[in-house]
Structures are given as C-alpha cells and as structure tokens.
C-alpha cells in the first residue's frame, strides 16, 4: 500500500467495526443498555470521522446513517429492535467488505455507491419515524440572528424560492454555515454537508478572508462561509447539520424576507406612469393585466436596474395571485409604489427580539482538536525518522500543518514562538519542531487533552500528550503481518545456521585434529543456542493471537443462522484467551465456520422436534479452546441429534463412496469419519446454509495441511463433538526422522502412533496386502522403500515399522531404521517441486543436508 495514512486507517477501521459489531450483538440481548448503545455510536462516529479524509464517500455515508440511527436510539426517540439491527449489521458487513477492497485496490469497489444508497435507504425507514431535530445526540443548531445576507442571494433563485414557498406553503430556512478553519482535519467536507441539505434552493458563499495568492494558499484551512436557503423546516435542516451544529446558524424566514429588489436606480417618467396604472389594476383586482404590464416594462429596461428588479417581483406576485395563491395586497401595492420612488420598504413584519449583527469568534486556548493535529505531527516526524526518510520533506510538511493549526485557532502568539524555535537550516528542522511541539503539548491542560473528542487522531493525541509529560512511552505498535513473517523466517535461518556449529565442531576434531577448537566451538554453540531459543520464543510469542480473534465472529454467525433456520440456539464460548500462532488461528477461521454451520443446520433439531425428544427448546452450541501439550485443541459440540452411523453408511453407499461389503465391516467411528469424505452430504435437500457436500472435506484438508487432526465423538440423540487439534505454532515442525534406502526422511510427529520392530515372520499377507497384527489391530503395511522407489535391500530379521494414524486409520510404514525426533523449520515445496507427490515440505539440516518431509496421506 502506497498511502501510509490509508494503511493506518484500515486496521483502525476494522477494529472499530468489530467493536460496533460486538456491542450491537450484546445490545440485541439487552436492548436499551445505554452503555452498549454508546459503544456502538462512538465506534461508528469515530469511523465516520476518520473515513472522511479518504475518498470513500459510500463508506462514510453508510456509517453516518447507522450513526444517526444509533443516535436516535441513544436519545430515546426510537426503540431498538432486531430488524433494525439487521439493517445496521448489513451496513457493517458492507463496510467490512469495502475495507478489504480498499486494502487491496486502494479504492472502494465501483458498486459501493449504489449499495450504500440502498443500505442508507433501508435505514431511513427508521430514521424517518423519529423527531426531525436533535439526531445523533448532536447539538441543536443555534438561532440565526442576522438575515441581512438574504438580499445577496441570487435574485433568480430567490424568485423561485418565493414561488415555491407561496405555492406550497413550504417553510423556508435560512442557514449560515461557517465551517471551522480546521474542519478538514476532523474529516468534515462542507461541500458534502451542503449536499445533504434538504430542499436546497439558494446558495451563496464568500471567502472568510480574501483569497491569498495561489502559491501561499493553504487548501487545508477552510476559508469558506456559506449562505443557504432551504425549502424545509428549521428542524430538518438542523438535523442534517447536527454534527457541525456549532458552526451553523439557522432561522425560519418568510417569503417577504426574500423580496428585496436591488440594482442601479434609473428613475424616469415611464416608471411613474406604471406605478399609477398598477394602482388602478390592483384596485380592480386585475392580476393578469398587472403581471403583463410588469413583464412588458421589465423587458424594456436593462436587467440590472433597481426598477427592473422591482418589476420582476411584481410580475411574480401578480402571476401567483392570478393563480389564486394568497399574496398580501400590501406587498404588491408597496412594490408598485416603489417602482416610481426607487425605494421599496421592508415588506416583512418586524422580527421579535434584537438582531445583533455578527458573533465574535472566540479565541480558544489551544482546543483539543488543534492539540490532536499537533500531536499527529509529532507522530509523523517520529515515523519519518524511523523509516530513515530524508526528514526534510516530512518536517516541512509538519511545520506547515503546525502553522496552519495555530493560525486556525487564532494563536498568533504561539506562531511567533514557533518561527523563532524552528529558525535555521533545513537539516535539523524535524528535531527542532518535534522538541517545540513536545513542550507545547506538555503545557496543554491535561484535562483538556484527555477529553475524548471526535476522531481517533485526537484520541491518540491525548495519549501522546499525556505520555510525553511523564517522559516514558508505553503502548502497542501495529506491525504489518508480513514483517512478522519475515522476522520469523530470519529466525528460522538463524536456527539452521546455528545447527551447523556441532558439525563444524566434529570436523574440527576429526579432520583437523583440534580437540580444543572443537570444544570452543561447542561452547560457543551452547551460547548461541540459548540466545536463539530466547529469540525464537520471543518471536513466537509476538505471533501468538488469542483464539478470541476467530471466536468473535461466531455470535454473529450463530445469530444470523438461527434466525434464518428458525432454530433457537445458544452459543457458549470458552477459552477465548487461549493463544496460538497467528497462522494457526487464521487457518482455523474457515473450518470453524463450516463446523458451526453444520452443527446448527444438521446437528440441532427444530424446536418442536427437540421438545418431543424431551430436550430444552433452545439448542446449545459449545465452542471451546484449550492448550494440550504442544497443541491447541478446539472443540465444537452441540446437543443435537448426533450422527447416526447407519444413516451415514447408507448415504455413503448410495453416493458410491464405499461399497456395501465395506459398509458391513465398518466400525461406528469409521462410519462417522465418512462425513469428511469429499462429495458427502447427509441432508437430501441442499439448503442455503450448508449441505452442498463441500465443507467437511475442506475442513479436514485445512486441518491436515496445518499438521493437525480432527476427531468426531457422537452419540445418537445426544449430540456431536468435533475436536480439532493443531500444533501451537506452524513455524517449527516436530518430525520423526527415519532412514530408508540410504535417504533420510521426516514424518510429522502428530501422525506417529508408535515405532515397533517385529520379527519378519509376523508380517502376513491379508487380501494381497502386507499387514501386521498389533494389539488386536490389523495394521496394513506400506514399504517406504518401494513407494519411494529407493530399491529394497536385504530383508532384515526384524522389520522396523513406524505406525501412523492418518485420517483415523492406522498404517505401518516399513523403514530401514529409526532416527531421532527433530525440531526443524519446514518450508513448503514451491515452484518446480510443487508438483512432486508424496512430500509435504523440506527442511535444511544443520550439516547442510536437505530433509524431505513425507506427506503420509499420499503414500498410503
């Protein structure tokens, strides 16, 4: 990803979505819990804010709509219901998908805009029922007191607004929107805010300060002030602007407020004439004639004359009156008189209360938002230092932002101090700026700095400001997974390099005859070994993730499924804190989804069936994780109908997976294991949820490839338990090494059941295959030398058999000799080796030899 801000935003956004999801689920169970509503609201609010600085409008809109809805719930205007949660969940899901796309492509998918519109529309159903004001707990828009700017709105737009207002009786809201200079840094886009205004009919704007030259202009300080007229109630306008309420002034205006003619006055006999004729027409109530006369004279005059402007208004009002619209006679007569005198009095009735002109901008003592921006600059500086980039560019950018932030909050005094502090050459600019910011932020009122406010930036700023005061920094660092992976690989290389030392010691002794050097090398090896072990342990622990990372998605899946299938399900989770290597945890996610789906769809019975069987109506799915030796064990169990071995066998025969003779001799456990066979599905009709005959075999393959095992325990009518055990970390593989045909091979320790040596005469031939009877079990044998084509030597008196359990079945591998167990770093077989069958991976031994690790499943 080329955009570092985006790279930071995406994981943050995912965390926020996860938090919102989780709180929303809990909220469904305890509707009305204000803390949960708050959690969802805050997460969404933060996400909306931080998304605003990227080009992800659909995401922002969608989250915004959810936030509005939750805001209503929070304000107690709308009750929380499950169907509403469905809508919000749909939005969160979409947002999550968009984030994936954003991460991969640095842009939202093209269909996101349409999707967002549909999602928002769905939510509007609930939003509409609420009171129009005070949405999202946002502050109410203060009352507008200066209406003089109305005259500056374009006359053509005012005419249309008056026409609409008089014809439909629609209320008109005047709005002055004065965005805060630093609003862009909060993710605000004033243009976007304007877009959301209902019934926007007139729009004017001005720069707050004159535009400077383009070269010294800072586009990120908002210098715009908007004057807007909307054909909508003040409350509705206020609702839409709720998040920038403090930057707005709104008030109701009447049509008369907009009738303010403007232009150069010409004067002249012709206007006096018109005035007199108009009086007569008014008295006669001949509105059409008045309109025609006004239009006729208007066409003659220059369009920018005052008189022409008055004539336009007369024509409009007379036309409306002719259509039967209620227009006060007084307006027309005063306008008509005004054509002659060049002066139209204010038509509107006096407004109650004083109208102070402008509110003074109160200079705040370094607001939290500014402190946030400044602290972010420090982070930027430190990041650019760490990455060893030429600090000049980042430092100059940070300096510019700092200047702007100070200017924006009116702290010219600080600005002067800043210039003093950073004066000098570009070389140490970054350091000087950083030091200056540190002192400045340390001075920030801690209470103020700790104030949570919109946007993660500010939140972080508060922490850094607090920390810098203490002089010590503690916290977490987000690290790209790829970096962790390469760190792991480097440690692996180091382990291999370290393992070469004993061989070197032996060579020193044997080849060069230096016993002393050999001992020194061994001593040194012991030291390096210890350090590498610690290093490896540390890297492993960094890569450890709690299983909760995967588990957290299940409450949602269970909820959706149980609603879809009409089953009542309770999910009990246990051992979320159990840690395992991140690859293991991530590899488990999909298999577990399959298992949970299967348990709900196939395992649990419908409520009536459960009641008939004397079980509680609500089924229970238990998801538990724990450590067991060097593996992590995950169990998915249900109290459903269990797996009936006879049904499974019948189905397998029907599908042609086994023949009926085999079915007859199968044990119940073997029969149950058939559900893992590819193309097996016991439910005859394929449901939307599961039962497409894929799934269980995928689960098994995933677990296999991670070097794990899956077992089924089931009792008919009582339930099913699926147990997955996986190695704690995938980086280090424990193998048993064997020698065969002069080569050394590794077999994953997880598959090894035992090693035995039996006299040659105990090997029997059963049904054309060699087998040996071990503790009443018939173990078929596979001669490794034959399978690997390494030629069979002389048959020894005793046969060495490595007994393995592959997919529930025992198989004996006949080898030449057993060698010890070994921990090594296995690498998958890539490239041209990828097609070689029979081997899963390779590892380098300390002496430089390559060890091939067998894929036993493919050999038996």
């Amino acid at each position: 990803m080329t955009n570092p801000m985006l790279a930071q935003f995406i994981p943050e956004a995912r965390d926020l979505l996860a938090a919102a999801n989780e709180a929303l689920l809990s909220l469904e169970r305890t509707p009305g819990d204000p803390d949960l509503v708050n959690t969802v609201f805050r997460s969404l609010h933060t996400l909306k804010g931080s998304s605003g600085i990227f080009d992800v409008a659909p995401l922002t809109q969608t989250v915004h709509a959810c936030e509005d809805l939750l805001g209503q719930v929070r304000a107690g205007e709308t009750g929380f219901e499950s169907a509403m949660a469905d809508g919000v969940f749909a939005c969160l899901d979409a947002a999550s998908r968009w984030l994936d796309h954003l991460e991969a492509e640095e842009a939202l998918p093209p269909e996101a805009a349409a999707e967002a519109a549909a999602l928002v529309e769905d939510l509007r159903g609930w939003l509409g029922t609420a009171a129009p004001d005070e949405a999202g707990g946002a502050a109410e828009v203060p009352a507008l007191d200066d209406f003089s700017w109305l005259a500056r709105l374009p006359e053509a737009e005012r005419i249309e607004a008056v026409r609409a207002a008089l014809q439909d009786g629609a209320p008109l809201t005047a709005l002055v929107y004065d965005p805060a200079p630093d609003c862009f840094f909060n993710g605000d886009d004033p243009v976007q805010n304007l877009r959301q205004l209902p019934g926007l009919c007139c729009l004017a704007f001005e720069p707050r300060a004159d535009w400077p030259g383009l070269d010294e202009f800072d586009p990120f300080t908002c210098n715009l002030r908007f004057f807007v007229l909307c054909a909508a109630p003040v409350a509705t306008v206020g609702e839409r602007m709720g998040y920038v309420a403090d930057q707005c002034r709104a008030g109701l205006v009447g049509a008369a407020d907009l009738i303010c003619p403007a232009g150069e006055r010409e004067g002249g006999e012709v206007f006096g004439d018109f005035s007199r004729r108009a009086e007569a027409m008014l008295a006669a109530g001949d509105w059409e004639a008045l309109a025609d006369a006004a239009r006729g004279l208007e066409d003659l005059g220059a369009p920018d004359l005052y008189e022409t402007s008055v004539l336009r208004w007369i024509a409009l009002l007379a036309e409306l009156r002719a259509e039967g619209v209620a227009v006060p006679d007084r307006w027309l007569s005063q306008l008509a008189a005004g054509v002659a005198t060049g002066e139209v009095p204010v038509l509107a009735d006096a407004r109650p209360g004083p109208r102070p002109v402008a509110r003074p901008a109160a200079p705040a003592p370094l607001p939290a938002a500014a402190a946030g921006v400044l602290a972010a600059q420090r982070e930027l500086l430190s990041a650019s230092r760490q990455q060893g980039e030429g600090s000049g560019c980042a430092a100059r950018a940070a300096l510019r932002v700092t200047r702007n932030a100070l200017r924006a909050c009116g702290r010219d005094d600080l600005l002067a101090r800043l210039e003093e502090a950073v004066a000098g050459d570009d070389g140490g600019l970054g350091d000087r700026l950083d030091r200056w910011l540190e002192t400045l932020l340390a001075d920030v009122d801690p209470q103020q700095a700790a104030q949570p406010s919109a946007g993660p930036r500010t939140g972080r700023a508060a922490t850094s400001a607090g920390d810098s005061g203490g002089g010590r920094r503690q916290g977490t660092v987000r690290v790209d997974q790829a970096r962790l992976d390469s760190l792991m690989n480097l440690v692996a290389e180091l382990v291999v390099a370290k393992n070469a030392l004993p061989y070197l010691a032996r060579r020193a002794q044997d080849t060069f005859g230096s016993r002393e050097l050999a001992r020194e090398i061994k001593d040194h090896h012991a030291l390096v070994h210890r350090i590498v072990q610690d290093l490896q342990g540390m890297v492993m622990s960094v890569r450890m993730l709690p299983m909760g990372n995967v588990f957290q998605r299940f409450p949602r899946i269970v909820r959706d499924l149980s609603r879809k299938l009409g089953k009542q399900v309770e999910l009990v989770m246990d051992g979320e804190e159990t840690e395992a290597d991140k690859n293991v945890v991530e590899n488990l996610a999909d298999p577990l989804v399959h298992l949970i789906r299967n348990s709900i769809d196939h395992g649990l019975e419908a409520p009536e069936e459960r009641v008939a069987a004397g079980k509680p109506e609500t089924g229970t799915i238990r998801l538990a994780a724990r450590h067991e030796n060097d593996s992590v064990v995950i169990e998915v169990s249900d109290d459903g109908r269990g797996i009936d071995p006879e049904t499974v066998k019948a189905k397998a025969v029907e599908k042609g997976l086994i023949d009926s003779a085999r079915a007859g001799t199968m044990s119940d456990d073997e029969a149950r294991a058939l559900i893992f066979a590819a193309g097996f599905s016991t439910v005859s009709d394929v449901s939307e949820v599961s039962g497409r005959g894929v799934g269980m075999d995928v689960v098994r393959d995933t677990v296999d490839s991670a070097g794990g095992r899956i077992d089924i325990l089931s009792r008919k009518g009582e339930g099913t338990l699926l147990r997955l055990s996986l190695p704690l970390n995938l980086a280090v593989t424990r193998v048993m090494t064997v020698e065969c045909g002069g080569g050394l091979y590794g077999i994953p320790m997880g598959l090894v059941v035992e090693t035995v040596k039996v006299p040659r005469d105990r090997v029997h031939t059963v049904a054309g295959r060699e087998a040996v009877v071990l503790r009443d079990n018939i173990v078929p044998l596979v001669r490794l030398a034959r399978v690997l084509d390494r030629g069979g030597g002389d048959e020894p008196e005793e046969v060495a058999i490595l007994v393995t359990r592959v997919r529930g079945a025992l198989t004996g591998l006949v080898v030449d000799e057993f060698r010890g167990g070994m921990e090594l770093i296995a690498k998958p077989m890539d490239g041209i080796l990828g097609g070689v069958r029979g081997f899963s991976s390779v590892a380098t031994l300390g002496d430089g030899r390559v060890l091939l690790i067998l894929q036993v499943e493919e050999l038996v």
């Binding site: 990227f54 886009d189 729009l203 383009l214 586009p219």
Partner: protein, 86 residues
C-alpha cells in the same frame, strides 16, 4: 485518478477528495491561467473547491452536478482559443 492534464486543461473527474487539493494546487501553479474541465466531476471536497476559487481558474466545462455548478459559477469562463483540440 481524479486529476488529469490534457492540452493545458486540468480535468477533474469522479469524486475529488481532499488529497487531490495539493495536487491541483501544484498543477495550477505550474500552468498559470490553465482552464479546468469539471464536466466529469461528481463531487469535490471543499479543499479542492478552495483551490479553484483561490486560483480563479477559468472554467472550460462546468460540472454537471447542480451543487458543484452553483459553487463554481463565480469562476471566469474560459474563452476557447480556436477550435477545441483533442
């Protein structure tokens, strides 16, 4: 890419986010008097709008979007010199 330069005209297309503002500023500084073509622009962040206003950039083609059209109405119209070239 929301900003492109063709034959001395800066073209804004799609949705122009705040990150485009500095780019636009640089492009306009490099080509004083360059006209802007906003026909394909669906949305522009206020920061981008500010750059156009500060530059007083002549409009080669106004935006289709009503709100943007209103916001950029104050910019001078670009007088095409000769036939438009592609």
């Amino acid at each position: 890419m929301a900003l492109t330069v063709r034959k001395g005209t800066v073209r804004l297309s799609g949705s122009c986010g705040p990150e485009e503002a500095e780019d636009l500023q640089a492009k306009l500084l490099k080509r004083p008097g360059a006209a802007v073509d906003m026909a394909g622009c669906e949305h522009m962040h206020a920061a981008v709008l500010q750059v156009l206003l500060a530059a007083g950039a002549p409009v080669h083609a106004p935006p289709e979007d009503d709100l943007l059209r209103r916001l950029t109405a104050g910019l001078p119209r670009h007088e095409a010199k000769g036939a438009p070239r592609e």
